[in-house]
């Protein structure tokens, strides 16, 4: 157990180090010159001269441009460890950290809502579908959700956007609130907020349901063959008790690990969904940064995504053996 924990933490550190180092190498090798970008910007609008100078100074500091590369590398590590990701070129006085802090709650909310909905619906669908008396409609639904899962989130997002914002214009096309509306703690604000979240949440949840339905059905079929279920049936327990307490309870835990496995894939997908709906999360920040060549923001967001995903996977991996005593030392899910 201890050994596993240590190995897992080492892999996390290794991942973060690889990400940071790859980032450093890419920045040094790129033909894109952020400084030239800044100078061009300074020339085009005279008022940001001061800001430009600070950015250039930051860039010099971070990369110690006149020093040999090992020195540059350590300077860069030091800057990152102190949490300094640099300035945004597009919104100058704001640092990359500021921009990220504004976006993170939106992304996190979107992700958690979508994943929770998909987890509940998918597992329910899969569990019910594994039951012997499952109606044909239910099986059909599982197959439907499975084929939908084969399509990436961003394509689902485009289709949903067209269907519910253009063809039947019942939902807004994007953003998080109606432009110009006042935001207070009223019901109207809450409804406006929810209406804007439905399509982005829906695109991700819809794409995930099939994934969980299918694996839940698989796990359930093995669980339902177990002897203790037979015993329960012989004992005369009600079908519902058997299903919920004997079946689902034992099948649901492995599903939690499945949650962690595709985290990277999930986040990658969410970036694009946010960009399509112009939802004010990290993905949209990244999309806008790409359009304006806001280089430090691009780098900062990419590093942030990598570190947070690895951290989330680390937490799930470490917490999982605590909830499921069946998994202890050694081989977990390999």
């Amino acid at each position: 157990m201890l050994r596993r924990t240590i190995i897992r933490i080492l892999i996390f550190c290794l991942t973060v180090w690889v990400a940071i180092t790859v980032n450093f190498i890419i920045v040094r090798a790129t033909p894109v010159d952020p400084i030239a970008g800044i100078l061009g910007r300074m020339a085009s609008k005279g008022q940001s001269v001061q800001g430009g100078a600070e950015i250039v100074a930051f860039y010099r500091d971070t990369f110690a441009l006149d020093e040999p590369w090992p020195v540059q590398y350590f300077m860069y590590l030091r800057q990152l460890l102190s949490g300094n990701l640099g300035y945004s070129l597009a919104y100058f006085p704001a640092t990359v950290g500021d921009v990220l802090l504004h976006a993170i709650p939106w992304s996190l909310g979107l992700l958690l809502t979508a994943v929770s909905i998909a987890f509940v619906v998918g597992n329910l669908l899969g569990a019910l579908g594994s039951w012997r008396r499952a109606p044909l409609v239910l099986r059909g639904l599982i197959y439907l959700s499975m084929t939908i899962s084969a399509v990436p989130f961003y394509l689902l997002a485009l289709i949903l956007l067209y269907l519910f914002a253009f063809m039947w214009p019942i939902l807004p096309t994007g953003g998080s609130f109606t432009v110009g509306s006042t935001r207070d703690f009223s019901l109207a604000t809450a409804i406006d907020f929810i209406r804007h979240a439905i399509l982005p949440v829906g695109s991700i949840a819809l794409g995930l349901v099939g994934f969980w339905a299918l694996s839940m059905r698989g796990v359930m079929t093995t669980v339902l063959d177990e002897d203790y279920l037979m015993y329960g049936r012989v004992k005369g327990l009600r079908e519902r008790t058997l299903f919920l307490h004997y079946g689902v309870r034992n099948a649901i835990l492995p599903q939690v690990t499945a949650l962690a496995i595709d985290m990277g894939q999930l986040i990658s997908g969410q970036v694009l969904v946010e960009a399509i709906f112009n939802y004010p999360g990290v993905g949209t920040v990244l999309f806008n940064a790409l359009r304006t060549s806001d280089y430090f923001v691009i780098q900062g967001v990419v590093l942030f995504i990598i570190v947070s995903v690895s951290l989330a996977m680390l937490v799930v991996d470490l917490v999982y053996p605590l909830i499921d005593p069946r998994i202890t030392a050694g081989e977990a899910g390999r």
């Binding site: 399509v151 985290m263 986040i267 694009l272």
Partner: protein
């Protein structure tokens, strides 16, 4: 004995992929390939007899665009998937066959790479090194898809390694790499075909994702670039469904086709996976 279930998904998958390829054929028959050029037609036309899928706002014929975009996207996907399977197979076989330190290093590399959201890295690469050709795109995309193959091949080799015929080969003095190439590889071919389809799916999703963000090879007409342009010029807001819908529909068919074929190949390669489990 239960081989038959593979037939149905195979037919469904082939139908979807056939539909995609038919679009290319229709494009070549109905419109001239030159109609992909800017302002070869009046811009913003809805579909009619001369332009079956209409024209977009740079005056390109949409059917001609689709006929050019589908092969380009397929090229990147197949190249990306292919390279990924080759890298994954080599690493997986080496890890599985030799074990020990080599296995440890490769396994750790796979674990690390699986943790990193690959699209994030691709975005950074795409933003830092603009102007990429289709083949460059394929090779970059392969970076996202080699881990799955490496894992599956390693697991397979671990079981094959203990089989009789490998032991005999070892006793008869065959070297490690020759055993891998001559004894193990042929036995893995059904698996590799299933893995290849899955890798192509991953590669396609990554390619289109990058292109939709505007990070693809911008000079080439591909499905992702077409979606990017349609979004950039607000085709959906202008009611020009014939601009954004064709690439989206073709991609949905492509993913469906690959999904069903992958499923069929999976069940052929791994008969135990039949029945209820995935």
């Amino acid at each position: 004995m239960r081989r038959r279930p593979a037939t149905v998904p195979l037919i469904i998958g082939a139908t979807f992929l056939g539909g995609v390829l038919l679009t290319v054929v229709a494009g070549h028959v109905l419109v001239s390939p030159d109609s992909t050029a800017m302002f070869s037609a009046v811009p913003n036309l809805p579909p009619d007899a001369a332009h079956p899928l209409g024209t977009q706002s740079q005056g390109r014929d949409m059917l001609a665009v689709m006929a050019a975009a589908i092969p380009a996207t397929l090229f990147v996907s197949l190249l990306g998937g292919g390279v990924a399977v080759i890298i994954g197979t080599i690493l997986g076989m080496t890890a599985g066959y030799f074990g020990g330190v080599v296995d440890g290093v490769i396994r750790t590399a796979v674990d690390v790479a699986l943790t990193i959201p690959t699209l994030a890295v691709l975005i950074l690469i795409g933003a830092s090194f603009p102007v990429v050709s289709l083949s460059a795109m394929g090779f970059i995309i392969a970076l996202t898809a080699w881990m799955g193959p490496a894992r599956v091949v390693r697991a397979q080799v671990l079981t094959l390694r203990e089989r009789e015929f490998v032991r005999i080969a070892k006793l008869s003095g065959l070297g490690g790499f020759r055993i891998i190439a001559l004894e193990l590889l042929p036995n893995l071919i059904p698996f590799l075909s299933a893995i290849f389809v899955n890798a192509v799916v991953t590669a396609t999703a990554a390619t289109i994702g990058l292109e939709v963000l505007g990070l693809g090879p911008r000079q080439t007409i591909t499905l992702g670039n077409t979606i990017f342009e349609a979004l950039y010029y607000t085709a959906m807001w202008r009611g020009m469904w014939w601009w954004w819908a064709p690439p989206v529909i073709v991609l949905v068919c492509l993913f469906q086709g690959l999904f069903f074929i992958g499923k069929a190949l999976d069940s052929i390669a791994n008969p135990r996976a039949l029945g209820a489990t995935t």
